[in-house]
Every structure is written in structure tokens, then in C-alpha cells.
């Protein structure tokens, strides 16, 4: 939006005429032209620093010769650049030579060997015999934290880790200490590292000074086998490099091999990088298991599949196909989810398929479709670093979408992105933007915040309201629905001064490229639908009446929460969001599947799946890779339902709480053992590739569904992932050409902007303050955990061992509670006891507890209520 047209500069590099945009430094321009200039401290991800002094080049401008550092000197018109001259080599060599006085040459046992810039530079400058006496440091390696080893003897003080920690991660856990000869890099007082453990410092380190302790393999990283794939934790969809050695998965790094591939630019978070312990783990389910009178007995795959097939047939005969229901997996690939719904719709004849996100919040898909109807297709998320304004709505970025934080910080540095944060907690998000509007509102007041911003945009004419009125049929009705949100009324509900919201509205409404990221926390408020639609209305308003663009993405929790819905694992939609009631869509799908007529006029039992299970209407339930007992927001309801279901099949990696209730368990493979695609929350379809063989007798879900279809006597007519992808392209044309090879793309709807209009609701913020339970419980994923699997990753448990509640210091003072004390948090139905941390991240009147610990089941605290849980807190002991 605020893009200033940059001039093109013509210059020559070693005699070859080249051009580059203004402000490009010589080093980058040369890199693009394929000319290598020695350097150690430069990274495209970081600001120029010029610490290593090994990138000197010779430039001639207007006949004047200069020796400059290419990492900081921009190209100029008519400049003649010479690299590798005798003179520059002499200087560059001298600096490198001095680094090699201290740097040990223990290359054969160094992690970086082969991928080491110091090695490459030494070789490039042919620096085989240094003139100086070798004087190596001999300090012990520092292993005071479980993740990152500091072996400072190899450190060359380039400061890449310090800058990455600051600029990319915003954590600043590392810095230079002391000075002169004594200077070292590390934490304050050599205290154990206490940070977000993103591992960005390990990646940028040009020597092996920082190492990944979670990996058992040491030395010669370039001899590992690399498999490029996609991370399976949150919905951000980082591209990763799975590194294997002798058939073992030894390490995960961000994919920096493929240029321009990946929305994360090689950045990862703790979960993505160090969570590989969940892949090869002896706790995994090794064989199919059958529940025989309460004990699980190992059975063969044939027997297991035969049992399921027989059960399907008998259930259909006895109670009809609609009594068989299935829950697809948010961590299964697109192809697997497609086969899952095909198994149900085509072979069983049941439309009773859903997924946990859809079960809880079917309105998220409606929201996505409403965006399309309004012409908001949303840009690819790779564009976010060029955004003018980013609104982070009720999302704790470092825990929920950590790598999104990296892109936003990059935008703040290079594009001066405005950052607007609306959250009921005072979440930590450090960045370098000049504009940081913090809207910290009372828990549950989300709706009022959004609607007030919309109202300010209209009332103050920040956007062209006449345009909106002309374009949107129900403009007046919508505007009327905003009338309760006056400055005073909003302040009363939200506790926010109007000036803050006005500032936010001004930054948001100005001509800009806007991005909105929404946290899954809004679902917990019980008003998820109304809040999403309010955010949609806000976007529609600026889309129609403001200059620039708006991109808004639905909140998604897991790696394929988007894809499971795209593939039609919902009772409302066939693959590609075509209605199950759409005769035309059903007909064309039936053709693709080689079937006669298909219709699903059966009662929709899965919208209220758990109630219908408890009522006995569901006779068989097939859960593919989910653990609703622990992860569904109402735990008690799920447990009751699963106890009642006559036949429960659970397909999973680990013996989850849900699996323990199953009649039959099928062991499946992790993402590192299978092929397919994940679709991230911004609709990027990205490749998942197998790096190792499946554990034990486990099989990829893809194979299980195919085998089950065959066992049922109706084998699928495709065998490979590619064949299924081709079928998906035919079944749902929006996926035409999106299945990736090397490069991933965002799928776009075939019809857009065809039904503009606001979604008007009359819902208001309800204040249900209970005297007996004065606190509101806010819960979300912990920074180091997500879902049920991360607790099997040793490294993640080591850095995030305990579930710790957070309360505000004033609440703590009133109760006489200090950090480290134990508290009891009681709702009307249940209670948990845990340690507490007193800080000012939580706001007054709220208690935050991460939801990832099985022994602290937050979802059991809910008593049928959909909104925030009211709790009381007391000190234990």
C-alpha cells in the first residue's frame, strides 16, 4: 500500500552489467547474480551489522576507488564493483586469519561441518596456513539448559545469535557480555537460558558454537539425509527439514534449502524444532489392539480391519448407515481426510462425519465463506511482512502462532507495520514498531471492542461511508445494530478508554494493507460466532469503504484444521465447500466416485454428536487421530458419550485418554512417516513427506482407510497419494493445481464477491459476574505444548514441565499468594490444584491456565456452559 516506487540502479559487478533496486546492498545484489562474496555475519533475515569485516569489495564511482564492506554499502548508479581483488582478499584474509587464531579446527566432530560459512570462507580465500600463533580458548561447554548447548570456543563474536534473538524473536535472552578479549556471548551472569527456545540462534550461528542438545547425532550435519516437509503442530504451516541419520530422525530445522519456499523463512518455534521426540518413541502404540473385557489384546491388522468391516455391515443392517459417525483428524493430511469422508459417504453411505473444530464451532466455515462472498480472498500470508497494519485479535502470538510473530516483527522493522493488539490478557509481544496500540479489555468483552472500532470508523468518517452504503445492501440495518456501542457504554463493558480504540481505528482505517489474525481464544468466550462476524463486518467495511486491502483468516488450531474442513469432513459440506444438500454437487461427486445416485437426506446427528451418542442414536463411532476426552472443550460430555457408544474405533499414535475407552485401536503413523499435504490456516496447501519408516506395525492413515475400504469389499480405485490428489481436483475444482511439488500455493475460491453484505446479529456482551466464583478462567495452548502429542517429546517436557497458573499481582496480594505457592481453582463442577505464578500478564479478575496437561483437565471444569468459566481461587496449605 504505502509502497514507494524504488529506483532501479545500474552497476557492474566484475565487469558484468547488472541492475538492482535502490538500497540493495552489494552483497545481496551479488548473491542474486550468483557471485559469492565472503561474509560471516550477514543474513537476509537480519539487519546489516558489519561485525566480521570479511566482505570487503572494491568499488569505483566516478573514477574514485574505494574499499567498502559489501554487506552495508548499497549499490549506486554507475558503480563498478570488483570482488576478489588482491587488495580485498588481503584485507578479508587478514580478518579471517585472526578469527582462526582462536577458532578450533575440530571440524570432523562439529555440527556445522559442511554447512559452515567459516569453512566455506576459509576455503574461498585459500587460507590454509595462518601466520599467527594458534591460541585456542579451552572453556567447557555450557549445558545449563536442556535445549541449547553453548560451546563458546567456536564462537567468532559475529553477533548473529544476539541479533536473531532480538530482531527475529523479540526475546533478547542473549547479549554480549564483558568486552575486549574477555567478550563472550551468553545470558546474564551465565544463568541458565530462560527463553522461548525457538532455536533461531542455532540456525543463524555460522560456526558450531550453538548446538541443538535434543539431537543425539553430532557432527557432519551435511551428511544427514534431508527431507523437506511441513510441521504438524500449529496451523501456521512452517516448512521444515527433517534430518535423518541411519534411518533415525535426529533433528528438525526450518527449510532454508528451497529459496522462497515456506512462509516461515526458515524460522521455527520450540515445538516445531524440538518436538521431534514424539515421532520415534517407545510409548507409541505398536500394534492394533482390541478391547477384550477391559484389557487390550494385540491383534493382527487383518483381524482388526475384518472386525471393523463386519461391525459396519451389521450396524448398517440393524440401525441404518446414519448410526455410524466419524470424527476426522485435524492432524491428518488432506488426502487422508478426503478418504475418510469418502469411506463414510461412498462406502458406508453415512453423512455423519465431522471434526472437533467443526463440532464446536461450525460457524468458522461459515465465516470463511462469508469472507469470500464479500470479495475478501485474503492475501497469501507471505505478504504479511509487508503489511501496513496488523490486528492481533485475542491471540497470544508467542504461544499460539509463534512464527507469525517472526513475520510481524520483520514487517515492523522493514515496513514499519503498525501493530494493534486486542486481548483480555496483557500478552507479551516485543517488536520494533513505532505504533503499538494495546487494547486490554475485560474478558468476554471482545464483541464490544470490535463493534466500537467499526462504529468509530463510520462516525469519524475515517472510511468512505457513502461507498459502503452503496455497495452493501444491509448497511443501515448493520449501522443501527452498532448504536449501543457509544464511547461511554463501550468503556463500561470493556474497561477501555475510548481514545485507545480511536487510535486503533485510525491506524486500521487509513489507506493500508491490513492483516487480521484471530486467536482460538474467542471460541472460549461463548460468543465466537458473534465475534467472528463482527470482525468480518469490520473487514467488509474497510474492504468496501477504505483504501488498500484487508486479509483475515479464520482461527485454526492444528496443522490441518483448515484442510479437514476443506476436504468435506463436516456434515454440511462435501469437499470444496459444496453443500451436501446441493443436488448438482452430489451428482458430480457421485460421478467422480463412479456411483449412481447419492443423497443424504438423513437426519444430521453429528451436529449434536455427543448428546446423540449418549442417547444411543450413534451405534458406532470412528475417531481418526483425535483425543476429544482431553482436547474437546467440554470433557465431561465427551466421556459420557464415549461410554455409551456401543463400538468405538480410535486410530491414533499414542494411548490417549480417548483411545483407552475404545473397543478397537489402530496404530497410525506420524507426519514424519507419511506422505500427503496439510493446508494451513491461510489456505496454503503444503507438502508432507516421509523421512523414516513407520514405527512398529503402525500404518499411515491413508493406507488404513484404503485397506478398510477393500476389507469392506468396495476397494477404492486409487492407490497412490498423487491419484487421490487428482481425484480431489476433480471432486472439488477449487483445488485444481494447488497440490504442491516444490512450491506451495494458497487455494482460492472459484466464486468471489458474489453476495456482499454484513452479518447482523443482535448479540451483546453479557456480564455474568458470579459472586461465588469471581474469577474468569482463560485457557489456551502453552508456549511449548499443543494437542496431546507434545507431552511425548522429551525436550518439550523438559522446557515446559509443569502446568502453572498465572494471576495478577493485585489479586495475588489480596489472597496472600506468591509465585510458587499452590492454589486451588474451583468451578461449579470441578477443581484443579496447581502452582501459581504472579505476574502482570494476567489482568485483574482472570486466571490463566494452559490446557495441555492431562492431570489438570481444564475442559472438565466446564459445566455445559459455552462461555468463559467462572472460578474461585483459594490458596492451598
Amino acid at each position: 500500500m504505502s509502497v514507494v516506487a524504488k529506483k532501479t540502479i545500474n552497476f557492474t559487478l566484475n565487469g558484468q552489467p547488472l541492475s538492482a533496486t535502490e538500497d540493495t546492498v552489494i552483497l545481496d545484489a551479488a548473491k542474486r547474480a550468483g557471485v559469492f562474496i565472503t561474509n560471516l555475519c550477514s543474513s537476509p533475515k537480519l539487519k546489516p551489522f558489519a561485525a566480521c569485516r570479511t566482505c570487503m569489495v572494491e568499488t569505483v564511482v566516478d573514477g574514485k576507488k574505494e574499499l567498502v564492506y559489501s554487506c552495508t554499502q548499497p549499490v549506486a548508479e554507475g558503480m563498478a564493483v570488483q570482488t576478489n581483488t588482491d587488495e580485498t582478499n588481503r584485507y578479508n584474509k587478514a580478518c579471517l586469519e585472526m578469527l582462526l587464531v582462536e577458532h578450533p579446527l575440530d571440524c570432523p566432530i562439529c555440527d556445522k561441518s559442511g554447512v559452515c560459512p567459516l569453512q566455506d570462507n576459509t576455503d574461498a580465500l585459500k587460507l590454509y596456513n595462518g601466520r599467527f600463533e594458534i591460541s585456542r580458548r579451552n572453556e567447557p561447554s555450557i549445558k545449563s539448559n536442556p535445549i541449547i548447548e553453548f560451546y563458546l570456543n567456536r564462537c567468532i563474536m559475529c553477533g548473529m545469535c544476539v541479533r536473531a534473538c532480538d530482531e527475529i524473536q523479540g526475546v533478547q535472552a542473549l547479549d554480549y557480555h564483558q568486552r575486549g578479549y574477555k567478550v563472550t556471548i551468553g545470558t546474564a551472569n551465565d544463568e541458565p537460558l530462560d527463553c522461548e527456545f525457538c532455536g533461531q540462534c542455532i540456525t543463524v550461528c555460522p560456526t558450531g558454537a550453538l548446538m541443538d542438545l535434543t539431537s543425539e547425532a553430532r557432527g557432519l550435519a551435511n551428511m544427514f539425509t534431508n527431507t523437506l516437509s511441513t510441521c504438524n503442530f500449529c496451523s501456521w504451516g512452517c516448512t521444515i527439514k527433517l534430518e535423518t541419520k541411519k534411518g533415525q530422525l535426529v533433528r528438525i530445522e526450518g527449510d532454508e534449502i528451497t529459496l522462497d519456499l515456506g512462509i516461515n523463512e526458515g524460522n521455527l518455534c520450540a515445538k516445531g524444532r524440538f518436538g521431534h521426540g514424539m515421532v520415534q518413541n517407545s510409548n507409541r502404540i505398536q500394534t492394533p489392539l482390541m478391547n477384550v473385557g477391559g484389557d487390550f489384546k494385540e491383534v493382527s491388522w487383518d483381524e482388526a480391519l475384518q472386525t471393523i468391516a463386519e461391525r459396519i455391515t451389521s450396524t448398517i443392517n440393524r440401525s441404518g448407515p446414519e448410526s455410524i459417525a466419524g470424527i476426522g483428524g485435524e492432524k491428518l493430511t488432506n488426502e487422508e481426510n478426503y478418504l475418510f469422508q469418502k469411506l463414510f459417504r461412498s462406502i458406508i453411505g453415512s453423512n455423519q462425519v465431522t471434526n472437533l473444530a467443526n463440532l464446536r464451532a461450525p460457524y468458522i466455515n461459515q465465516f470463511l465463506l462469508k469472507c469470500f462472498e464479500n470479495g475478501i480472498a485474503s492475501k497469501p500470508i507471505t505478504e504479511m511482512e509487508k503489511a501496513d497494519v496488523v490486528l492481533l485479535f485475542n491471540t497470544d502470538i508467542p504461544s499460539e502462532y509463534p512464527v507469525a510473530g517472526n513475520s510481524i516483527r520483520k514487517g515492523a522493522i522493514y515496513t514499519s507495520t503498525d501493530i494493534l493488539i486486542a486481548n483480555p490478557r496483557n500478552v507479551v509481544f516485543k517488536h520494533e514498531s513505532q505504533v503499538d496500540v494495546r487494547m486490554i479489555y475485560k474478558p468476554g468483552a471482545d464483541l464490544a471492542v470490535v463493534n466500537r472500532i467499526s462504529k468509530i470508523l463510520v462516525d469519524r468518517n475515517i472510511v468512505d461511508t457513502a461507498k459502503a452504503k452503496a455497495a452493501l445492501p444491509n448497511y443501515d440495518e448493520w449501522l443501527k445494530s452498532l448504536s449501543p456501542y457509544t464511547a461511554e457504554a463501550t468503556q463500561k463493558i470493556t474497561g477501555l478508554e475510548d481514545a485507545i480504540l480511536v487510535r486503533a481505528a485510525e491506524r486500521f482505517g487509513r489507506p493500508a494493507d491490513r492483516f487480521i489474525l484471530i486467536g482460538n481464544d474467542i471460541l472460549d468466550t461463548g460468543q465466537g460466532e458473534a465475534i467472528l462476524m463482527a470482525l468480518l463486518n469490520l473487514s467488509v467495511l474497510v474492504h468496501q469503504a477504505g483504501e488498500g486491502s484487508v486479509s483475515i483468516y479464520p482461527p485454526r488450531e492444528h496443522c490441518n484444521s483448515q484442510g479437514v474442513n476443506d476436504m468435506g469432513v463436516t456434515p454440511d459440506f462435501l469437499p470444496g465447500y459444496r453443500s451436501t444438500q446441493d443436488a448438482q454437487a452430489l451428482k458430480s461427486l457421485a460421478e467422480v466416485w463412479g456411483k449412481g445416485e447419492m443423497n443424504f437426506n438423513q437426519e444430521n446427528l453429528v451436529d449434536n454428536l455427543w448428546e446423540n451418542c449418549s442417547k444411543g442414536l450413534i451405534k458406532m463411532l470412528y475417531i481418526a487421530g483425535e483425543d476429544p476426552c482431553h482436547s474437546y472443550y467440554q470433557g465431561a460430555v465427551v466421556k459420557d458419550a464415549l461410554k455409551t457408544v456401543p463400538f468405538l474405533v480410535v486410530q491414533d499414535i499414542y494411548m490417549t485418554e480417548t483411545a483407552k475407552m475404545a473397543d478397537l485401536i489402530l496404530p497410525t503413523s506420524t507426519y514424519a512417516e507419511k506422505e500427503g499435504t496439510f493446508t494451513n490456516m491461510t489456505r496454503h496447501v503444503q507438502r508432507v513427506a516421509p523421512a523414516i519408516l513407520p514405527e512398529g506395525q503402525s500404518r499411515p492413515d491413508f493406507d488404513i482407510f484404503s485397506d478398510l475400504a477393500a476389507t469392506c469389499g468396495k476397494p477404492f480405485d486409487h492407490f497412490s497419494i498423487r491419484e487421490v490428489q487428482k481425484e480431489i481436483e476433480r471432486a472439488a475444482p477449487i483445488f485444481k493445481d494447488v497440490f504442491p511439488g516444490k512450491k506451495s500455493t494458497q487455494w482460492v475460491p472459484d466464486e468471489i464477491g458474489h453476495r456482499p453484505g454484513f452479518v447482523v446479529t443482535s448479540e451483546t456482551v453479557s456480564e455474568d459476574h458470579k459472586e461465588s466464583h469471581p474469577f474468569k478462567l482463560v485457557s489456551n495452548n502453552h508456549m511449548f505444548h499443543i494437542g496431546s502429542y507434545s507431552h511425548y517429546a522429551k525436550a518439550l517436557v523438559e522446557i515446559g514441565p509443569d502446568c502453572i497458573a498465572e494471576i495478577h499481582s493485585q489479586d495475588a496480594q489480596a489472597m496472600g499468594v506468591q509465585t510458587g505457592d499452590r492454589i486451588r481453582v474451583e468451578s461449579e463442577t470441578s477443581s484443579v490444584e496447581l502452582a501459581v505464578e504472579v505476574n502482570n500478564r494476567s489482568t485483574q479478575g482472570t486466571v490463566y491456565i494452559p490446557k495441555n496437561w492431562e492431570d489438570i483437565p481444564i475442559n472438565m471444569m466446564r459445566n455445559g456452559e459455552k462461555g468463559l468459566i467462572s472460578v474461585k481461587i483459594s490458596k492451598v496449605g
Binding site: V171, Q172, A173, L174, D175, Y176, H177, Q178, R179, G186, T187, A188, N189, E191
Partner: protein, 175 residues
């Protein structure tokens, strides 16, 4: 310079109040922080110097307070403090013994003085003697080479020290 001792008046009184501040007074720190126009990282160094002026050193509690007030991380603030040798992270002795180790003083016997101090007070460069009377610091040059070897003890300057009389000068000071 006949009289090597140039005593600054009023110093003993100040030092007595300093002694009373064994218990760190956080209000003082708050006052210092509040005396700056805003709680910005640009005032970090003047803030730390002022605090050290009052407290003689920077205890961990104080560093933590400054850190949260101006929103720095622990690594950053320690990075700055450890860069400047003037900032002290351990409690110094009652008097700072600044021994000049410049070329002139070195030649004129500063190492002998240092050796003697080590012998009697068991303190090397940067260390505090066990009774917490002195903290020995080496200075690169105190700018008075004509009076080599020289030292500044507390607020008193001594020039042309006879290394053999090292202890006599020290005896002027007591806890």
C-alpha cells in the same frame, strides 16, 4: 608536591551515611528512576551511574527493578553493566583503592604496591579484602604521571607514593 595527601573535605561524613546504607533502600532507586524524563532505555547508563553513586554498587534487586521499569531483558542490562568496569555487581569495600597502572606508575613501582596489598589484604585486581575495607581497582592512567606512582583511595589522592610505605597510607583508613 610535598604533601602527597590531598584530602577532600566532607568525605568522611558521606562515607558514614554510605555505611548506613548496608540495607538497600529501594525508595532511593525509585527516586532516581523517577528523576528521569521518561522510563526509556536511552537513560540506562546515566540511571545506573546515579544509582551506583547513591548505593556504591548495583545489587541484583536493583538491577531487576531497573530492568522491569525500563523494559529491558536480563541479558541486555547485564550486557551493559559488564561492559563498563565502573559498574559494580558485588559489594565493594568501604574505600575503593584505585591504583594507577599507567606506564609511569608501573615503572615507578605500582606492581610492588599491588604485591604488598595482596600480601596484607589478600586482594588482587578487582577484589575486595575480607574485612571489606578496601576494593582494589587498577586504573589505566589517572592523569598525573608527574606524581607517579599514584593512587586514589576513596576520595583522597596520593602521589609519589613510596612503595615501601604502602601500609602507612592504608593505616589512615579503618572500618
Amino acid at each position: 608536591m610535598d604533601n602527597p595527601e590531598i584530602a577532600s573535605e566532607g568525605a568522611p561524613v558521606e562515607q558514614e551515611t554510605a555505611l548506613e546504607e548496608v540495607k538497600i533502600c529501594m525508595t532511593t532507586v525509585h527516586q532516581v528512576i523517577d528523576s528521569f524524563p521518561d522510563k526509556s532505555r536511552r537513560y540506562l547508563i546515566p540511571m545506573l551511574s546515579k544509582i551506583q553513586e547513591k548505593l556504591r554498587w548495583l545489587p541484583d534487586e536493583v538491577i531487576k527493578l531497573v530492568m522491569t521499569e525500563i523494559r529491558l531483558t536480563r541479558a541486555e542490562i547485564y550486557g551493559v553493566i559488564s561492559f563498563y568496569h565502573q559498574f559494580r555487581m558485588t559489594e565493594p569495600g568501604k574505600y575503593i583503592y584505585r591504583l594507577c597502572y599507567g606506564t609511569a606508575c608501573f615503572v615507578k613501582g605500582a606492581p610492588i604496591i599491588a604485591e604488598k596489598l595482596k600480601e596484607k589484604y589478600n586482594m588482587s585486581q578487582g577484589e575486595t579484602d575480607p574485612t571489606k575495607l578496601f576494593t582494589l581497582e587498577f586504573a589505566s592512567c589517572l592523569g598525573n604521571c608527574g606524581a607517579a606512582p599514584m593512587a586514589i583511595i576513596g576520595d583522597d589522592t596520593y602521589g609519589t607514593i613510596d612503595p615501601e610505605k604502602t601500609y602507612e597510607i592504608c593505616d589512615n583508613y579503618s572500618l
